[in-house]
């Protein structure tokens, strides 16, 4: 006991900046939770959900080097689990008016947190069935199988009328209004991911990304390790989907079109494949950016009646951005670096050096 206390003290001494940062962050969320209006609150909540899902995607795609495109599908599973199990029993008859809810589900209502975790676990089960054929093989079969899966899951949810209410979707899901649910979960998942990446498992993930054959020769079990990463990713994504359902208060199959996945792809590519802090930053940049650029879809932007501004332009800009990053800035914002205090100090020094270097050179030119 004394030892652990000592180690906590030592830890604090070493990482006091991080501790201070965390406290400031928590206070910041608390303050924001009290003061922001409902529009901003929704947007901030969405940012946190994007952080969760993008981080899960980066764990599989960036750190383990396996190309999964099933985020929309796993989110759908999490979202529908939360929807089915948390909708109040008394309002179910009104929602399922075309076909009543299946009797084995009709009277089950679970607390939000239980449904959320159940959603994550359901994603894990599905991920296992997709992963077991695909992850045994080398090559990109996982990409096509997961993309196919997220299309299929929509078809399934549209057709299972008595469980998911088909194309009508499920409305009046009890919503979460405070920022704590999303930011609390996001923080927990960030911490879990950091610990995971710095553990033996994390090193095994990265070794597979760098060179599968070498990793196998070093004794890393390829299938087991890839599967671990894929299942953890699916769990986090399912949780993200559950929060998404509780944020919007309604789910229907159209929300989980596979193009949703491309948002997360843009985020991890922008932030840097294999950087946790990069993913977090990019999640905020992309989510807020998509909101800020909404005017591109409005026909009367700037008071001018330019025919360029019409629905669809915003997504053209974002897909173009994805191409530009991949072709010209392949490392994204952070590459595989992390935003640590050392990294900031180093950047600060190099910028300072550059500035002073410029100064001397211009002075030299003057003489």
């Amino acid at each position: 006991m004394k030892e652990t206390q000592n180690s906590i003290g030592a830890y604090l001494k070493l990482h006091w900046k991080t501790a201070v940062f965390l406290v400031v962050l928590l206070v910041g969320i608390g303050v924001a939770d009290i003061f922001v209006d409902s529009y901003m609150r929704r947007l901030l909540n969405l940012c946190a959900i994007y952080v969760i899902v993008s981080l899960a995607m980066n764990l599989v795609n960036g750190f383990t080097g396996q190309f999964s495109l099933g985020q929309a599908g796993f989110m759908a599973i999490g979202a529908y689990t939360v929807a089915v199990f948390t909708v109040p029993i008394e309002s179910r008859a009104a929602i399922f008016y075309l076909e009543p809810m299946a009797p084995f589900l009709a009277n089950i209502q679970l607390p939000f947190i239980v449904a959320l975790i159940l959603g994550g676990l359901a994603s894990v089960v599905v991920a296992f069935f997709i992963g077991s054929p695909c992850l045994r093989l080398r090559g990109d079969y996982l990409a096509i199988a997961t993309l196919g899966f997220s299309e299929i899951i929509r078809i399934v949810f549209t057709n299972t009328q008595s469980i998911t209410n088909g194309a009508l979707g499920i409305k009046s899901i009890p919503t979460i209004s405070s920022l704590w649910w999303t930011y609390g979960t996001a923080l927990l998942i960030i911490i879990a991911t950091v610990l995971l990446i710095n553990s033996t498992y994390g090193r095994a993930f990265k070794s597979i990304r760098e060179d599968e054959i070498a990793a196998e020769a070093m004794g890393v079990g390829l299938f087991k390790t890839k599967m671990t990463s894929f299942l953890i990713g699916a769990f986090f994504t399912g949780i993200g989907g559950g929060l998404f359902a509780a944020l919007l208060g309604t789910v229907d199959p159209k929300q989980f079109y596979f193009t949703l996945t491309y948002n997360f792809l843009l985020i991890i590519v922008l932030g840097g494949m294999g950087s946790i802090s990069g993913t977090v930053i990019a999640s905020f940049v992309v989510t807020l950016g998509q909101e800020a650029l909404r005017f591109l879809d409005e026909p009367m932007a700037f008071g001018l009646d330019l025919p360029i501004f019409r629905p669809g332009l915003r997504m053209v800009v974002f897909s173009f951005l994805l191409m530009v990053i991949v072709l010209f800035y392949r490392k994204g914002l952070m590459g595989t670096n992390e935003l640590t205090w050392d990294f900031i100090a180093q950047k600060y020094r190099s910028i300072k050096k550059k500035l002073s270097g410029k100064k001397t050179s211009t002075e030299g030119g003057g003489n």
Binding site: E151, I213, L322
Partner: protein, 301 residues
Amino acid sequence: MVVGMTMETFLQQLINGLSVGSLYALIAIGYTMVYGILRLINFAHGDIFMMAAYFTYFGIAVFFLPWYVTFIITIGLTMLLGVTIERVAYRPLRDAPKTSLLISAIGVSFLLENVATYLFSGKPQAFPEFPLMTTPFFIGGLSFQPVSIVIPIVAFILMSALLFIINKTKIGMAMRAVAVDYDTAKLMGIKINGVISSTFAIGSALAAVGAILWCMKYPSVLPLMGVVPGLKCFIAAVIGGIGNVKGAVLGGLILGFSEVLMVAFFPALTGYRDAIAFVILIIILLFLPNGLLGKKQVEKV
């Protein structure tokens, strides 16, 4: 289940399956050729198919060109599009990590979908009908749409031509050489860039013909129409053995027949029609990862 299905309707379904399967085969060839040479899933291929459908639509319904002129222009423009995509989005990344190439392919696909939505609106446009192709005719109590017969014939002619190109011409030999061993082929003086460009040109041309025939059968065009056919045709290529042209044809036909026959035998499963490709993919990957005609690949250091 089979009760209620007469011999006539069964034959009709077989013809239908043959025409759907031939369409899949035409698109699957583009996937399999690119994968054979670059080891890349060309995610944009389904969207090249979609753009070809729009080119045809604009030629016939907007500019009122004669159909044969439209078809030639469509095939030319689609080939140009395919080659341009390779030149701009894939070639600069040839020495980059594979993930970057894959992301670039997805990016192109996403960009084409969004540009099409922006330019042509997300609403489906009605494709002009070809009465010559859609008016049913009767043989001994069976009714056929001419298009269902024309599709397999056109597909068969094109595939024979393709096999001739691959097996008998110089560029075909170069393609096979690059597919077997990229680096050695380069050392032997094969102009890799030219070979890759012609691969994309041929794949896109087949996708263009596929799109024209597709629109005669299903007369509507929309920006996301290439996604599901694209996904299915890649699966068809995997079924036949990725990298193998004959395999892609076989896979396309198997997929077409299983879809049509499943819906015919089990009408209750109609809603799940698009799911069958996925189920077949999982089964193939579990038991026959190299596909039906593929060779076993050994990873070398």
